[in-house]
Amino acid sequence: MKNSKIKDSWSRIEPDGSADSRILSSVLAENRRVREEREDKMTINQKKAGKRALTFALAAALIFTLTIGVGAAGGLGRLFSLITQNDGSDAYNGDNLELIAERMEPVTGEITSTQKGNLKFSVKEAYYDGMTLYCASEIETDIDPNAEETDWNFDIYINGVKLDFDYTLNARRWVKSEDGKYISDSMSTKIPDEFRPKGTGDIRVKYVATHYSYGGENGNGDLEAASSEFTVACRDDAVNIAETVMQNDVKFRYLRSSTATTEVCMDVPVELSENNPDISCGISLSTEDGKYISLNTGIEDYSDEEPEKYSQLIYSGEAVPEGVTTLIAQLNAYDTSDNSNTVAAKFRIDLVEKSVVPID
Protein backbone atom coordinates (compact mmCIF):
# COMPACT_ATOMS: atom_id res chain seq x y z
CA MET A 1 0.00 0.00 0.00
CA LYS A 2 1.54 3.23 -1.10
CA ASN A 3 -0.48 5.59 1.01
CA SER A 4 -3.05 4.18 3.36
CA LYS A 5 -4.78 7.53 3.90
CA ILE A 6 -5.65 7.89 0.23
CA LYS A 7 -6.76 4.28 -0.02
CA ASP A 8 -8.91 4.50 3.12
CA SER A 9 -10.51 7.75 2.04
CA TRP A 10 -11.21 6.50 -1.45
CA SER A 11 -12.69 3.21 -0.28
CA ARG A 12 -15.55 5.09 1.36
CA ILE A 13 -16.71 6.36 -2.01
CA GLU A 14 -19.32 4.03 -3.48
CA PRO A 15 -22.88 4.25 -4.76
CA ASP A 16 -25.57 4.05 -2.14
CA GLY A 17 -28.24 1.35 -2.43
CA SER A 18 -30.78 3.40 -4.34
CA ALA A 19 -28.22 4.78 -6.81
CA ASP A 20 -26.93 1.27 -7.31
CA SER A 21 -30.34 -0.09 -8.29
CA ARG A 22 -31.12 2.94 -10.47
CA ILE A 23 -27.90 2.55 -12.43
CA LEU A 24 -28.26 -1.21 -12.84
CA SER A 25 -31.85 -1.01 -14.03
CA SER A 26 -31.07 1.70 -16.60
CA VAL A 27 -28.02 -0.27 -17.79
CA LEU A 28 -30.10 -3.41 -18.25
CA ALA A 29 -32.83 -1.45 -20.02
CA GLU A 30 -30.22 -0.06 -22.40
CA ASN A 31 -28.84 -3.56 -22.97
CA ARG A 32 -32.28 -4.83 -23.96
CA ARG A 33 -32.84 -1.88 -26.27
CA VAL A 34 -29.49 -2.35 -28.02
CA ARG A 35 -30.01 -6.11 -28.33
CA GLU A 36 -33.37 -5.67 -29.96
CA GLU A 37 -32.05 -3.00 -32.32
CA ARG A 38 -28.97 -5.05 -33.23
CA GLU A 39 -30.89 -8.28 -33.82
CA ASP A 40 -33.21 -6.47 -36.25
CA LYS A 41 -30.26 -5.09 -38.18
CA MET A 42 -28.36 -8.35 -38.29
CA THR A 43 -30.99 -9.93 -40.47
CA ILE A 44 -30.76 -7.13 -42.99
CA ASN A 45 -26.97 -6.88 -42.99
CA GLN A 46 -26.01 -10.49 -43.58
CA LYS A 47 -25.37 -9.94 -47.28
CA LYS A 48 -23.05 -7.03 -46.60
CA ALA A 49 -20.89 -8.96 -44.15
CA GLY A 50 -18.92 -10.93 -46.73
CA LYS A 51 -18.04 -7.80 -48.67
CA ARG A 52 -16.85 -6.02 -45.53
CA ALA A 53 -14.62 -8.94 -44.51
CA LEU A 54 -12.89 -8.86 -47.88
CA THR A 55 -12.24 -5.11 -47.62
CA PHE A 56 -10.78 -5.51 -44.14
CA ALA A 57 -8.46 -8.31 -45.25
CA LEU A 58 -7.08 -6.14 -48.04
CA ALA A 59 -6.54 -3.21 -45.70
CA ALA A 60 -4.82 -5.38 -43.09
CA ALA A 61 -2.26 -6.52 -45.65
CA LEU A 62 -0.74 -3.06 -45.85
CA ILE A 63 1.89 -1.68 -43.55
CA PHE A 64 3.07 1.79 -44.32
CA THR A 65 4.37 4.95 -42.88
CA LEU A 66 2.93 8.38 -43.20
CA THR A 67 5.28 11.19 -42.79
CA ILE A 68 4.41 14.70 -41.80
CA GLY A 69 6.69 16.85 -43.82
CA VAL A 70 8.95 19.66 -42.85
CA GLY A 71 7.50 23.12 -42.56
CA ALA A 72 10.24 24.65 -44.59
CA ALA A 73 9.86 24.82 -48.31
CA GLY A 74 11.13 21.75 -50.07
CA GLY A 75 10.38 19.71 -53.11
CA LEU A 76 6.91 19.12 -51.83
CA GLY A 77 6.44 22.58 -50.43
CA ARG A 78 4.81 23.12 -47.08
CA LEU A 79 3.41 19.85 -45.91
CA PHE A 80 2.25 20.73 -42.48
CA SER A 81 0.55 23.76 -41.10
CA LEU A 82 -1.68 24.03 -38.12
CA ILE A 83 -3.78 27.13 -38.03
CA THR A 84 -5.87 28.14 -35.10
CA GLN A 85 -8.19 31.06 -34.69
CA ASN A 86 -9.23 32.71 -31.50
CA ASP A 87 -12.95 32.48 -30.95
CA GLY A 88 -13.00 35.76 -29.06
CA SER A 89 -13.43 34.17 -25.69
CA ASP A 90 -10.92 35.17 -23.08
CA ALA A 91 -11.58 32.22 -20.85
CA TYR A 92 -10.90 29.25 -23.04
CA ASN A 93 -7.60 28.53 -21.42
CA GLY A 94 -7.67 27.23 -17.90
CA ASP A 95 -4.78 29.42 -16.98
CA ASN A 96 -5.96 32.38 -19.00
CA LEU A 97 -2.88 32.39 -21.11
CA GLU A 98 -4.04 33.50 -24.50
CA LEU A 99 -3.08 31.80 -27.68
CA ILE A 100 -4.29 33.90 -30.52
CA ALA A 101 -4.22 33.60 -34.27
CA GLU A 102 -1.01 31.79 -34.71
CA ARG A 103 0.49 29.21 -36.92
CA MET A 104 2.21 26.21 -35.54
CA GLU A 105 4.70 24.46 -37.71
CA PRO A 106 5.85 21.13 -36.46
CA VAL A 107 9.32 20.58 -37.76
CA THR A 108 9.48 16.88 -37.38
CA GLY A 109 6.81 14.34 -36.86
CA GLU A 110 5.41 11.12 -38.09
CA ILE A 111 2.17 9.30 -38.37
CA THR A 112 2.62 5.58 -38.49
CA SER A 113 -0.08 3.24 -39.55
CA THR A 114 -0.19 -0.32 -38.34
CA GLN A 115 -1.64 -3.43 -39.90
CA LYS A 116 -4.81 -2.96 -37.94
CA GLY A 117 -5.20 0.49 -39.41
CA ASN A 118 -4.40 2.33 -36.17
CA LEU A 119 -2.44 5.52 -36.41
CA LYS A 120 0.36 6.55 -34.14
CA PHE A 121 0.94 10.28 -34.19
CA SER A 122 4.15 11.75 -32.97
CA VAL A 123 5.60 15.22 -33.16
CA LYS A 124 9.16 15.66 -32.09
CA GLU A 125 9.30 19.39 -32.15
CA ALA A 126 7.08 22.28 -33.06
CA TYR A 127 7.52 25.99 -33.48
CA TYR A 128 5.21 28.75 -32.49
CA ASP A 129 6.00 32.08 -34.02
CA GLY A 130 9.59 30.98 -34.20
CA MET A 131 9.75 29.74 -30.62
CA THR A 132 10.21 26.12 -29.75
CA LEU A 133 6.98 24.88 -28.29
CA TYR A 134 7.70 21.34 -27.60
CA CYS A 135 10.54 18.91 -27.55
CA ALA A 136 9.83 15.91 -25.40
CA SER A 137 8.76 12.36 -25.91
CA GLU A 138 5.24 12.44 -24.63
CA ILE A 139 3.22 13.44 -27.61
CA GLU A 140 3.25 9.97 -29.06
CA THR A 141 -0.18 8.43 -28.91
CA ASP A 142 -1.70 5.35 -30.38
CA ILE A 143 -4.99 6.23 -31.92
CA ASP A 144 -7.77 3.73 -31.90
CA PRO A 145 -9.65 4.09 -35.19
CA ASN A 146 -12.83 2.95 -33.54
CA ALA A 147 -12.60 5.45 -30.72
CA GLU A 148 -15.33 8.00 -30.58
CA GLU A 149 -12.78 10.72 -30.20
CA THR A 150 -9.09 11.04 -30.71
CA ASP A 151 -6.89 13.04 -28.47
CA TRP A 152 -3.35 13.35 -27.41
CA ASN A 153 -1.81 15.24 -24.54
CA PHE A 154 1.48 17.00 -24.34
CA ASP A 155 3.11 19.91 -22.62
CA ILE A 156 4.17 23.03 -24.39
CA TYR A 157 6.20 25.91 -23.10
CA ILE A 158 5.51 29.47 -24.11
CA ASN A 159 7.88 32.01 -22.65
CA GLY A 160 8.64 29.56 -19.89
CA VAL A 161 4.98 28.95 -19.03
CA LYS A 162 3.96 25.32 -19.18
CA LEU A 163 0.62 24.43 -20.69
CA ASP A 164 -0.98 21.05 -20.82
CA PHE A 165 -2.12 20.80 -24.40
CA ASP A 166 -4.96 18.41 -24.93
CA TYR A 167 -5.62 18.15 -28.61
CA THR A 168 -8.95 16.63 -29.43
CA LEU A 169 -10.09 15.81 -32.90
CA ASN A 170 -13.83 15.81 -32.72
CA ALA A 171 -14.23 16.05 -36.43
CA ARG A 172 -11.88 15.11 -39.15
CA ARG A 173 -11.88 14.77 -42.84
CA TRP A 174 -9.49 13.27 -45.25
CA VAL A 175 -8.98 15.54 -48.20
CA LYS A 176 -7.12 15.10 -51.43
CA SER A 177 -4.59 17.88 -51.32
CA GLU A 178 -4.46 18.34 -55.09
CA ASP A 179 -8.01 19.54 -55.45
CA GLY A 180 -9.01 20.08 -51.83
CA LYS A 181 -12.01 17.84 -52.23
CA TYR A 182 -13.13 16.01 -49.12
CA ILE A 183 -12.97 12.30 -49.45
CA SER A 184 -14.36 11.30 -46.10
CA ASP A 185 -16.27 12.83 -43.26
CA SER A 186 -15.76 9.77 -41.19
CA MET A 187 -14.94 10.04 -37.53
CA SER A 188 -12.58 7.16 -38.07
CA THR A 189 -8.88 7.87 -38.19
CA LYS A 190 -8.49 5.20 -40.82
CA ILE A 191 -7.34 6.44 -44.14
CA PRO A 192 -9.86 5.32 -46.71
CA ASP A 193 -8.57 2.22 -48.46
CA GLU A 194 -8.52 3.80 -51.88
CA PHE A 195 -6.00 6.40 -50.70
CA ARG A 196 -3.58 4.03 -49.08
CA PRO A 197 -0.22 3.84 -50.80
CA LYS A 198 0.14 0.96 -53.21
CA GLY A 199 3.89 1.26 -53.57
CA THR A 200 6.82 3.58 -53.10
CA GLY A 201 6.02 7.23 -53.43
CA ASP A 202 4.09 10.01 -51.84
CA ILE A 203 0.41 10.26 -51.36
CA ARG A 204 -0.66 13.51 -49.89
CA VAL A 205 -3.89 13.91 -48.04
CA LYS A 206 -5.12 16.70 -45.88
CA TYR A 207 -6.33 15.94 -42.39
CA VAL A 208 -8.68 18.51 -40.97
CA ALA A 209 -9.71 19.00 -37.40
CA THR A 210 -12.33 21.55 -36.58
CA HIS A 211 -12.12 21.47 -32.86
CA TYR A 212 -9.51 21.29 -30.19
CA SER A 213 -9.17 22.00 -26.56
CA TYR A 214 -6.34 22.77 -24.27
CA GLY A 215 -6.09 23.37 -20.61
CA GLY A 216 -3.98 24.39 -17.73
CA GLU A 217 -3.97 23.65 -14.06
CA ASN A 218 -7.53 24.88 -13.66
CA GLY A 219 -9.16 22.68 -16.23
CA ASN A 220 -9.74 22.26 -19.91
CA GLY A 221 -11.04 24.79 -22.33
CA ASP A 222 -12.40 24.45 -25.82
CA LEU A 223 -12.01 26.45 -28.94
CA GLU A 224 -15.24 25.82 -30.77
CA ALA A 225 -14.28 27.98 -33.72
CA ALA A 226 -10.79 26.69 -34.03
CA SER A 227 -9.69 24.90 -37.10
CA SER A 228 -6.53 23.15 -37.90
CA GLU A 229 -5.31 21.25 -40.83
CA PHE A 230 -2.26 19.47 -41.91
CA THR A 231 -1.24 17.51 -44.87
CA VAL A 232 0.56 14.27 -44.59
CA ALA A 233 2.77 12.64 -47.11
CA CYS A 234 2.63 8.89 -47.13
CA ARG A 235 5.59 6.76 -48.03
CA ASP A 236 6.36 3.15 -47.54
CA ASP A 237 10.11 3.30 -48.01
CA ALA A 238 11.25 4.44 -44.57
CA VAL A 239 14.45 2.90 -43.21
CA ASN A 240 14.08 1.09 -39.93
CA ILE A 241 17.16 -0.62 -38.49
CA ALA A 242 16.61 -2.13 -35.09
CA GLU A 243 19.73 -3.94 -33.99
CA THR A 244 21.48 -3.91 -30.64
CA VAL A 245 25.23 -3.50 -31.12
CA MET A 246 27.50 -2.86 -28.17
CA GLN A 247 30.67 -0.83 -27.87
CA ASN A 248 32.31 0.29 -24.61
CA ASP A 249 29.12 -0.72 -22.79
CA VAL A 250 27.13 1.66 -25.00
CA LYS A 251 24.33 -0.01 -26.94
CA PHE A 252 23.23 1.13 -30.36
CA ARG A 253 19.50 0.33 -30.38
CA TYR A 254 17.89 1.61 -33.56
CA LEU A 255 17.78 4.11 -36.40
CA ARG A 256 14.60 5.13 -38.13
CA SER A 257 14.59 7.43 -41.07
CA SER A 258 11.88 8.61 -43.37
CA THR A 259 11.51 11.40 -45.88
CA ALA A 260 11.15 13.98 -43.14
CA THR A 261 12.78 12.71 -40.01
CA THR A 262 15.59 10.64 -38.59
CA GLU A 263 15.59 9.12 -35.15
CA VAL A 264 18.51 7.36 -33.55
CA CYS A 265 18.55 5.62 -30.18
CA MET A 266 21.31 4.41 -27.88
CA ASP A 267 21.38 2.99 -24.37
CA VAL A 268 24.03 4.61 -22.21
CA PRO A 269 25.30 3.25 -18.88
CA VAL A 270 23.92 5.28 -15.98
CA GLU A 271 27.47 5.78 -14.62
CA LEU A 272 28.12 7.85 -17.68
CA SER A 273 24.80 9.56 -18.19
CA GLU A 274 23.23 10.07 -14.77
CA ASN A 275 25.69 9.45 -12.01
CA ASN A 276 28.28 11.92 -13.14
CA PRO A 277 27.04 15.52 -12.91
CA ASP A 278 29.98 16.83 -14.93
CA ILE A 279 29.32 14.61 -17.92
CA SER A 280 26.69 15.35 -20.50
CA CYS A 281 26.06 12.82 -23.26
CA GLY A 282 24.74 13.44 -26.74
CA ILE A 283 24.38 11.59 -30.02
CA SER A 284 25.66 12.92 -33.31
CA LEU A 285 24.98 11.54 -36.75
CA SER A 286 27.01 12.24 -39.85
CA THR A 287 27.65 10.94 -43.31
CA GLU A 288 30.97 9.23 -44.02
CA ASP A 289 32.32 12.39 -45.60
CA GLY A 290 31.70 14.28 -42.37
CA LYS A 291 28.45 16.08 -43.17
CA TYR A 292 26.29 16.26 -40.04
CA ILE A 293 22.62 15.34 -39.93
CA SER A 294 21.02 17.97 -37.73
CA LEU A 295 19.54 16.30 -34.66
CA ASN A 296 17.66 19.04 -32.87
CA THR A 297 15.72 17.06 -30.32
CA GLY A 298 17.20 14.90 -27.60
CA ILE A 299 15.25 12.87 -25.09
CA GLU A 300 16.61 10.95 -22.15
CA ASP A 301 14.56 8.26 -20.48
CA TYR A 302 15.04 4.96 -18.69
CA SER A 303 16.07 2.13 -20.97
CA ASP A 304 13.21 -0.20 -21.72
CA GLU A 305 15.59 -3.17 -21.49
CA GLU A 306 17.65 -2.60 -18.33
CA PRO A 307 16.38 0.60 -16.71
CA GLU A 308 18.53 0.20 -13.62
CA LYS A 309 21.72 -0.02 -15.67
CA TYR A 310 21.04 2.12 -18.72
CA SER A 311 19.52 5.41 -19.73
CA GLN A 312 18.07 5.69 -23.17
CA LEU A 313 18.97 8.58 -25.44
CA ILE A 314 16.72 9.22 -28.41
CA TYR A 315 17.81 11.96 -30.80
CA SER A 316 15.83 13.07 -33.79
CA GLY A 317 16.07 15.63 -36.51
CA GLU A 318 16.30 16.14 -40.23
CA ALA A 319 15.97 13.43 -42.82
CA VAL A 320 18.95 11.63 -44.27
CA PRO A 321 19.79 13.28 -47.60
CA GLU A 322 19.00 11.32 -50.73
CA GLY A 323 21.81 9.14 -52.00
CA VAL A 324 23.45 8.64 -48.60
CA THR A 325 24.07 4.96 -47.97
CA THR A 326 26.22 5.02 -44.82
CA LEU A 327 25.96 6.95 -41.59
CA ILE A 328 28.25 7.32 -38.60
CA ALA A 329 26.49 7.56 -35.25
CA GLN A 330 28.57 8.45 -32.24
CA LEU A 331 27.97 9.01 -28.58
CA ASN A 332 29.80 12.07 -27.32
CA ALA A 333 30.51 12.63 -23.65
CA TYR A 334 31.16 16.25 -22.79
CA ASP A 335 32.99 16.92 -19.55
CA THR A 336 31.93 20.36 -18.36
CA SER A 337 34.69 20.45 -15.71
CA ASP A 338 37.41 20.75 -18.35
CA ASN A 339 35.34 21.25 -21.55
CA SER A 340 36.71 18.07 -23.05
CA ASN A 341 34.79 15.89 -25.46
CA THR A 342 35.25 12.14 -25.57
CA VAL A 343 33.79 9.80 -28.15
CA ALA A 344 32.32 7.10 -25.93
CA ALA A 345 31.13 4.90 -28.80
CA LYS A 346 31.03 5.00 -32.58
CA PHE A 347 28.96 2.93 -35.01
CA ARG A 348 28.78 2.61 -38.79
CA ILE A 349 25.26 2.17 -40.14
CA ASP A 350 24.81 0.68 -43.58
CA LEU A 351 21.45 1.91 -44.83
CA VAL A 352 21.46 -0.46 -47.80
CA GLU A 353 22.39 -3.65 -45.96
CA LYS A 354 20.53 -2.40 -42.89
CA SER A 355 23.36 -3.37 -40.58
CA VAL A 356 25.35 -1.71 -37.79
CA VAL A 357 28.96 -2.33 -36.75
CA PRO A 358 31.09 -0.68 -34.06
CA ILE A 359 34.06 1.37 -35.23
CA ASP A 360 37.29 1.14 -33.27
Binding site: K2, K5, W10, I13, A19, E149, N218
Partner: protein, 165 residues
Protein backbone atom coordinates in the same frame (compact mmCIF):
# COMPACT_ATOMS: atom_id res chain seq x y z
CA UNK B 1 -20.00 -1.96 -34.88
CA UNK B 2 -21.73 -4.90 -36.39
CA UNK B 3 -19.19 -7.41 -35.08
CA UNK B 4 -19.44 -6.30 -31.47
CA UNK B 5 -20.51 -8.71 -28.77
CA UNK B 6 -24.12 -8.77 -27.65
CA UNK B 7 -24.30 -9.70 -24.00
CA UNK B 8 -27.23 -11.09 -22.09
CA UNK B 9 -28.70 -9.15 -19.18
CA UNK B 10 -27.10 -11.64 -16.79
CA UNK B 11 -23.66 -11.08 -18.31
CA UNK B 12 -24.04 -7.31 -18.15
CA UNK B 13 -25.29 -7.49 -14.56
CA UNK B 14 -22.28 -9.63 -13.63
CA UNK B 15 -19.85 -7.17 -15.15
CA UNK B 16 -21.63 -4.31 -13.41
CA UNK B 17 -21.44 -6.04 -10.03
CA UNK B 18 -17.75 -6.84 -10.51
CA UNK B 19 -16.70 -3.32 -11.36
CA UNK B 20 -19.35 -0.91 -10.13
CA UNK B 21 -17.28 0.32 -7.23
CA UNK B 22 -14.17 0.88 -9.35
CA UNK B 23 -16.09 2.70 -12.06
CA UNK B 24 -17.96 4.78 -9.49
CA UNK B 25 -14.73 5.79 -7.78
CA UNK B 26 -13.03 6.79 -11.03
CA UNK B 27 -16.07 8.82 -12.06
CA UNK B 28 -16.37 10.47 -8.67
CA UNK B 29 -12.79 11.66 -8.94
CA UNK B 30 -13.81 13.77 -11.94
CA UNK B 31 -17.43 14.62 -11.23
CA UNK B 32 -17.12 15.24 -7.48
CA UNK B 33 -20.82 14.79 -6.75
CA UNK B 34 -23.08 11.74 -6.62
CA UNK B 35 -25.64 12.87 -9.19
CA UNK B 36 -23.16 13.48 -11.99
CA UNK B 37 -21.15 10.46 -10.97
CA UNK B 38 -24.27 8.35 -11.39
CA UNK B 39 -24.76 9.70 -14.93
CA UNK B 40 -21.14 9.02 -15.78
CA UNK B 41 -21.22 5.46 -14.43
CA UNK B 42 -24.38 4.80 -16.39
CA UNK B 43 -22.84 6.21 -19.56
CA UNK B 44 -19.74 4.07 -19.09
CA UNK B 45 -21.80 0.89 -19.01
CA UNK B 46 -23.87 2.12 -21.96
CA UNK B 47 -20.64 2.30 -23.93
CA UNK B 48 -19.80 -1.23 -22.89
CA UNK B 49 -23.15 -2.35 -24.24
CA UNK B 50 -22.82 -0.41 -27.49
CA UNK B 51 -19.18 -1.28 -28.19
CA UNK B 52 -19.51 -4.88 -27.08
CA UNK B 53 -15.78 -5.47 -26.68
CA UNK B 54 -14.48 -8.97 -25.97
CA UNK B 55 -12.18 -9.27 -22.99
CA UNK B 56 -9.30 -11.69 -22.48
CA UNK B 57 -9.53 -11.55 -18.69
CA UNK B 58 -11.16 -9.82 -15.75
CA UNK B 59 -8.16 -7.45 -15.63
CA UNK B 60 -8.66 -6.53 -19.27
CA UNK B 61 -12.34 -5.92 -18.59
CA UNK B 62 -11.51 -3.70 -15.63
CA UNK B 63 -8.85 -1.76 -17.55
CA UNK B 64 -11.29 -1.11 -20.38
CA UNK B 65 -13.95 0.19 -18.01
CA UNK B 66 -11.50 2.44 -16.16
CA UNK B 67 -10.27 3.98 -19.40
CA UNK B 68 -13.75 4.50 -20.77
CA UNK B 69 -15.01 5.91 -17.45
CA UNK B 70 -12.22 8.48 -17.44
CA UNK B 71 -12.98 9.46 -21.04
CA UNK B 72 -16.70 9.74 -20.35
CA UNK B 73 -16.00 12.05 -17.41
CA UNK B 74 -13.54 14.19 -19.34
CA UNK B 75 -16.13 14.64 -22.07
CA UNK B 76 -18.78 15.62 -19.55
CA UNK B 77 -16.47 18.15 -17.94
CA UNK B 78 -15.55 19.55 -21.36
CA UNK B 79 -19.21 19.80 -22.19
CA UNK B 80 -19.71 21.96 -19.11
CA UNK B 81 -16.85 24.18 -20.18
CA UNK B 82 -18.46 24.64 -23.56
CA UNK B 83 -21.71 25.73 -21.98
CA UNK B 84 -20.18 27.75 -19.20
CA UNK B 85 -20.92 31.18 -20.68
CA UNK B 86 -24.62 30.35 -20.93
CA UNK B 87 -25.11 28.77 -17.58
CA UNK B 88 -23.48 30.92 -14.96
CA UNK B 89 -24.18 28.61 -12.08
CA UNK B 90 -22.18 25.85 -13.71
CA UNK B 91 -19.04 27.63 -12.64
CA UNK B 92 -19.84 26.31 -9.19
CA UNK B 93 -20.71 22.82 -10.39
CA UNK B 94 -19.49 20.15 -9.95
CA UNK B 95 -18.88 20.47 -6.28
CA UNK B 96 -18.25 18.02 -3.52
CA UNK B 97 -21.28 16.80 -1.69
CA UNK B 98 -21.33 14.84 1.48
CA UNK B 99 -20.40 11.32 0.52
CA UNK B 100 -17.97 10.81 3.30
CA UNK B 101 -15.18 12.84 1.76
CA UNK B 102 -12.43 14.03 4.04
CA UNK B 103 -9.45 16.31 3.71
CA UNK B 104 -7.32 13.68 2.00
CA UNK B 105 -9.81 12.73 -0.68
CA UNK B 106 -10.77 16.37 -1.17
CA UNK B 107 -7.14 17.15 -1.96
CA UNK B 108 -7.11 14.27 -4.44
CA UNK B 109 -10.35 15.43 -6.06
CA UNK B 110 -8.92 18.91 -6.44
CA UNK B 111 -5.99 17.63 -8.48
CA UNK B 112 -5.96 18.60 -12.15
CA UNK B 113 -8.11 16.14 -14.09
CA UNK B 114 -5.28 14.68 -16.09
CA UNK B 115 -3.63 13.26 -12.95
CA UNK B 116 -6.69 11.69 -11.39
CA UNK B 117 -6.95 8.34 -13.12
CA UNK B 118 -3.23 7.69 -12.68
CA UNK B 119 -3.39 8.68 -9.01
CA UNK B 120 -6.42 6.44 -8.45
CA UNK B 121 -4.78 3.47 -10.14
CA UNK B 122 -1.49 3.98 -8.32
CA UNK B 123 -2.67 4.69 -4.80
CA UNK B 124 -5.97 2.88 -4.62
CA UNK B 125 -5.65 -0.01 -7.05
CA UNK B 126 -1.94 -0.47 -6.41
CA UNK B 127 -0.80 -0.59 -10.03
CA UNK B 128 2.77 0.33 -10.93
CA UNK B 129 3.47 3.25 -13.22
CA UNK B 130 4.39 0.82 -16.00
CA UNK B 131 1.09 -1.03 -15.61
CA UNK B 132 -0.81 2.27 -15.57
CA UNK B 133 0.93 3.31 -18.78
CA UNK B 134 -0.33 0.09 -20.36
CA UNK B 135 -3.83 0.53 -19.00
CA UNK B 136 -4.20 4.12 -20.09
CA UNK B 137 -2.22 3.69 -23.30
CA UNK B 138 0.13 6.50 -22.46
CA UNK B 139 3.93 6.59 -22.42
CA UNK B 140 5.55 5.48 -19.17
CA UNK B 141 7.31 8.82 -18.84
CA UNK B 142 3.95 10.63 -18.99
CA UNK B 143 2.57 8.54 -16.16
CA UNK B 144 5.71 9.03 -14.08
CA UNK B 145 5.41 12.78 -14.61
CA UNK B 146 1.71 12.77 -13.70
CA UNK B 147 2.42 10.90 -10.48
CA UNK B 148 5.43 13.04 -9.66
CA UNK B 149 3.49 16.26 -10.15
CA UNK B 150 0.39 14.97 -8.34
CA UNK B 151 2.54 13.84 -5.42
CA UNK B 152 4.14 17.28 -5.19
CA UNK B 153 0.71 18.94 -5.09
CA UNK B 154 -0.58 16.51 -2.46
CA UNK B 155 2.50 17.02 -0.31
CA UNK B 156 2.02 20.75 -0.48
CA UNK B 157 -1.68 20.50 0.41
CA UNK B 158 -1.60 17.74 2.97
CA UNK B 159 1.80 18.29 4.45
CA UNK B 160 2.46 15.74 7.18
CA UNK B 161 -0.80 13.98 6.39
CA UNK B 162 0.62 12.81 3.13
CA UNK B 163 3.20 10.39 4.38
CA UNK B 164 4.01 8.05 1.57
CA UNK B 165 5.34 4.75 2.77
Amino acid sequence: MSDSLLRTDEEIADIYQRHKKTVYQVCYAYMKNPADTEDAVQDTFFRLIKSGPEFDSAEHEKAWLIRVAANVCKNMVRHWWRRRENIEELSEVPCSEDIGTDEVISAVLDLPDRYKTAVYLYYYEGYTSTEIAGLLKKPKSTIRNYLHEARAILRERLGEDFDEE
